[in-house]
Symmetry: D5
Subunit: 92 residues, 10 copies
Amino acid sequence: MEFLVRSENRLPVDTPAERREELRAGERARAVELRAAGVLKRLWRVPGRNATIGLYEAADPAELHDALMSLPMAPWLDITVEALATHPQERQ
Amino acid sequence: MEFLVRSENRLPVDTPAERREELRAGERARAVELRAAGVLKRLWRVPGRNATIGLYEAADPAELHDALMSLPMAPWLDITVEALATHPQERQ
Amino acid sequence: MEFLVRSENRLPVDTPAERREELRAGERARAVELRAAGVLKRLWRVPGRNATIGLYEAADPAELHDALMSLPMAPWLDITVEALATHPQERQ
Amino acid sequence: MEFLVRSENRLPVDTPAERREELRAGERARAVELRAAGVLKRLWRVPGRNATIGLYEAADPAELHDALMSLPMAPWLDITVEALATHPQERQ
Amino acid sequence: MEFLVRSENRLPVDTPAERREELRAGERARAVELRAAGVLKRLWRVPGRNATIGLYEAADPAELHDALMSLPMAPWLDITVEALATHPQERQ
Amino acid sequence: MEFLVRSENRLPVDTPAERREELRAGERARAVELRAAGVLKRLWRVPGRNATIGLYEAADPAELHDALMSLPMAPWLDITVEALATHPQERQ
Amino acid sequence: MEFLVRSENRLPVDTPAERREELRAGERARAVELRAAGVLKRLWRVPGRNATIGLYEAADPAELHDALMSLPMAPWLDITVEALATHPQERQ
Amino acid sequence: MEFLVRSENRLPVDTPAERREELRAGERARAVELRAAGVLKRLWRVPGRNATIGLYEAADPAELHDALMSLPMAPWLDITVEALATHPQERQ
Amino acid sequence: MEFLVRSENRLPVDTPAERREELRAGERARAVELRAAGVLKRLWRVPGRNATIGLYEAADPAELHDALMSLPMAPWLDITVEALATHPQERQ
Amino acid sequence: MEFLVRSENRLPVDTPAERREELRAGERARAVELRAAGVLKRLWRVPGRNATIGLYEAADPAELHDALMSLPMAPWLDITVEALATHPQERQ
């Protein structure tokens, strides 16, 4: 099933640049893995914000939760999830 | 997977009593079927309101949607759904 | 550019069934055209609601507006639009 | 009587790992006791968040308050409570 | 247990004066009964609005619900309920 | 005149236990005085929160303000006040 | 004591012009009386809306309520009231 | 001074096409006049909605109010206004 | 033109008493000047809060902004401004 | 395409004056560049707040995002963006 996931990044502004870059690199690497696994299907930036909107696929909300918590930035992310129902136009 | 479902009933106050009773009877009958099918697991009233909170189980959001739309009162219900993740304390 | 489009359908409950079906058929037909044109890329149902979330692509907000207003159901839709920025992970 | 309890965990991100684990272990232990006592009936995770939704039973709101405050994590929890009315379909 | 009950009266402005007065008289009479029964303990007007705030006492939310629904004006009332916990300062 | 007063206690979690207890003791002592003076008429806990709802009586909003500011915990309280109008059912 | 009063006028758009003018004339006449009585001290329009913000003075919320309900337009007004506390800078 | 003006058009969906066109034509004509007078400086559509955002200039809020109320569609518009302060970067 | 100005004071609770008193004294002195200049016309306390509602008069929003920023407490104030339109009842 | 951009400046109050002035100077310099490039078209202050409303033009949301992130103050800005559709009255 698919989920729409909004994520606001609350990493403090005064986080040292090195730590920030380390987290971002880890985030990118983990995102690549989640894409390869078919969990992360699309990702957009919310213009003007340190925030993203993502389209995810997972077996159920618990599996989605585990995927999101596996992101290195997870402790600083304020995430909201909407479960999406397949539209009849897209069923076959 | 389980869902928390809030439902506000917007049936107009001036609906004829006969029609209203017919809808309520149909609602009760369909709820019995959904309980028997294991879709409707718990149902509460929101005190003071013509509204309910229900705990539902369905294979995915689309199946839940179809179950909710099968309620005779559905056209007048303002429904919001939250997908729930199984808590590790309840997994085995 | 891509847009996330939420649409709540406010068609009155007492709309005659024939009129309602005519509108739905027109809606489906127009959606097929918008998909073929690459404007409507994905569509989901919000579970429990007469509402959808869609992923659209258009040259700019004015073109998106015209596409949305071309839906036969448009006069009854309460639509909100978010412009999405391409994420660096998806640029090449 | 039953209550629906939402709880957002605001424990600061920079809490030392040891202290965090100690609190979590205490939380789990206390939850087991509350389940055994019939106070905590169900618990779910809100996907993507350090938050839970729980179904509790207590004699009255004061007893529920005391149960919630007995959780080791209580000082960091942002809790909201809804009192649920038994639905006639579930009375006998 | 005690409850704080807010009630907004949505009776349509164009309700005939006779019907309106009949409802108000019924409301007053039922309120007198609920006071005598110890269910309605205090009642205030929200200044400037056709709305009240009431302090009620009932065995549980279901009993409160039945009391509120027994008001002749109930079909037009938009009610929200908060369950109140006895404060330690008032326990003995 | 009467006021409904909601108060959320924002005292930081890391306040030393001794300071916290000193403030609570002062709060209780001042509450006793306000009750004796007829200013604080009822007090409830909001279940699950470090928050209260109180029924106060004062000559006017300025006098109420001074009473609330006299609470030792006042600098940490997030207070909202509603002025209540006597209901005709309670006038004589 | 003084109150800040916001009032949104919900008179239906299709009210006959004659009835509308009659109500407006009555509203103006009653406002003149409330000014003369010292109850209505200032009145502003919210630009772009059929709405006003007023500064009122009354002995208590119940007296204010009666003054507001005496306006011929009252059944169509959506009013919210804030009780204002005299600021020490303006006490003498 | 300049104002940012949001306007949601609430003209009922079932307004006869002729009446609707008459109103729209009047709206366009009045807008042309307001532009010529330097009152309406820019106008945008909110994509997906029957709504606009406009940049207006007027001597004060009362003059702006009169300009907005002069629109033939005004009785059906839900308008909110923000007064804008000239930014030092644009003063000379 | 007149403005309604709400101001929440966010000065940290742990500001040293001396610094706090210095700021308050400066605030009072500046308020006296703004009153003398006809900019600050009325000021009220929001009961229960470290907050005020003020009625200001200024040539335009930029002049109002400068007046508000001239308050010594300005860096800690969370201010919202509404531009008020003169009501026809008060024009002559 | 054009965007309406709201920006609240959350730079901490206790930022050293020198650092604050350096950031402001950088902000002004970058704004001049964005104006010269036709990206920043208008800028207003929200009266009473350390906040602005701006009218921007960019090829798409990603280009706008990059422009906004190029502001030296960006890490402290809480920005929200609305994509504006050209109004037919302004197309030619």
